[in-house]
């Protein structure tokens, strides 16, 4: 296993900073049925999502609630021929493995919303590592913080949203 946090390992991780990784395309076009299912799950009666006249006047036609952006990338529970499931935030799991850190938490998650998502859009995404910290010790243990961006765009290449995740991969302190 790698993961001793040596200078080479850190250099390998930092070499990935700023590089686009894990380009993916959504498995299905954005559709209104799922928008209504989502709104129903939280009893969201915003007429922008239920009333065609309001949607036409405000957004030039139906749009999806911004908070649904990651929904369009979660794979079906089953699909013909698929043998393994891609992990969301694969860069996070790659860093855990690279540094040999058995535990990890997300300390916060920010989403910035840009061009509205419209029915029929087929969204695409990629991940970008932004930073990896030096080794730090917190009450959870000793490890490293990293910041990962997940970038979402539509089929025209317009930026739809960016998620910023701060992760902390760590090893629990051994009780003395």
């Amino acid at each position: 296993m790698t993961g001793n946090g040596s200078g080479d390992t850190l250099a390998e991780a930092r070499d990935l900073i700023g590089k686009e990784q894990y380009h993916e395309v959504g498995e299905f076009p954005v559709e209104r049925g799922y928008v209504w299912t989502s709104c129903a799950s939280v009893e969201n009666g915003n007429p922008l999502y239920w009333d065609d006249e309001v949607a036409e006047a405000l957004t030039g036609g139906p749009v999806a609630p911004p908070s649904m952006v990651s929904v369009w990338f979660r794979p079906h529970h089953w699909a013909p021929g698929r043998i393994e499931e891609a992990l969301p935030l694969q860069v996070h799991f790659d860093l855990k493995a690279l540094f040999g850190l058995p535990e990890a938490v997300m300390t916060d998650n920010t989403i910035e919303f840009h061009t509205p998502v419209r029915m029929g859009d087929v969204l695409r995404t990629h991940q970008v590592l932004r930073s990896v910290s030096d080794e730090k010790t917190t009450k959870l243990g000793t490890g490293r913080f990293w910041v990962i961006d997940v970038v979402y765009a539509n089929q025209e290449g317009e930026l739809v949203a960016v998620e910023f995740y701060t992760g902390f991969g760590y090893r629990r302190e051994v009780a003395s």
């Binding site: 006249e53 309001v54 979660r74 794979p75």
Partner: protein, 167 residues
């Protein structure tokens, strides 16, 4: 429904320190499962109590994060009206929400501003709590119209700046 008939909050109606109306909601197993499926989250801790208890060590299935995001969005746009356009949210998860809990969403306006391109925004601190214990916080920035004719959704390209220039 005509747009004119829809209640809409304007930026000028909002002041720092304003409290949003509290939303109380009794969470059931259906709430959790419906939320998980609506966000295409098939992981068993959000629908299988045996898995949640025996594998995750939690007391029950619990609300997933993307569905909580949908709850926060609904809470904010219930307040703002449909021209309210969510710009940016930051979540911090502190605890889980289970069936049987009554979750309360509360919010307070922390600041308002008009940015360099004339778009009005309110920053709102939203808290999801159960019996007074904070479970999730959400720092939200939402665009609000400045006049009855203004519509933040009409902004495109450089005219839409979801993050403050100097955070």
């Amino acid at each position: 429904m005509s747009v004119a008939a829809v209640a809409q909050l304007l930026l000028e109606d909002v002041n720092v320190g304003d409290e949003l109306p509290t939303l109380d909601y009794e969470v059931t197993a259906t709430t959790v499962v419906l939320g998980a499926l609506a966000t295409r989250d098939w992981r068993p801790m959000h629908h299988d109590k045996d898995f949640a208890v025996h594998r995750n060590g939690t007391q029950d299935i619990f609300l997933n994060t993307p569905n909580q995001a949908a709850w926060f969005e609904r809470y904010l746009t219930d307040w703002s009206g449909p021209r309210g356009r969510l710009a940016r949210v930051t979540f911090r998860m502190k605890g889980s929400v289970f069936p049987g809990d009554t979750m309360s969403l509360t919010g307070v306006v922390e600041s308002t501003e008009v940015d360099e391109v004339g778009c009005g925004f309110a920053s709102v601190a939203v808290t999801l709590s159960v019996d007074g214990d904070t479970k999730t916080t959400c720092a939200a920035r939402i665009a609000l119209p400045r006049t009855g004719e203004d519509n933040p959704w009409a902004r495109r390209g450089d005219q839409w700046r979801p993050s403050p220039t100097h955070p």
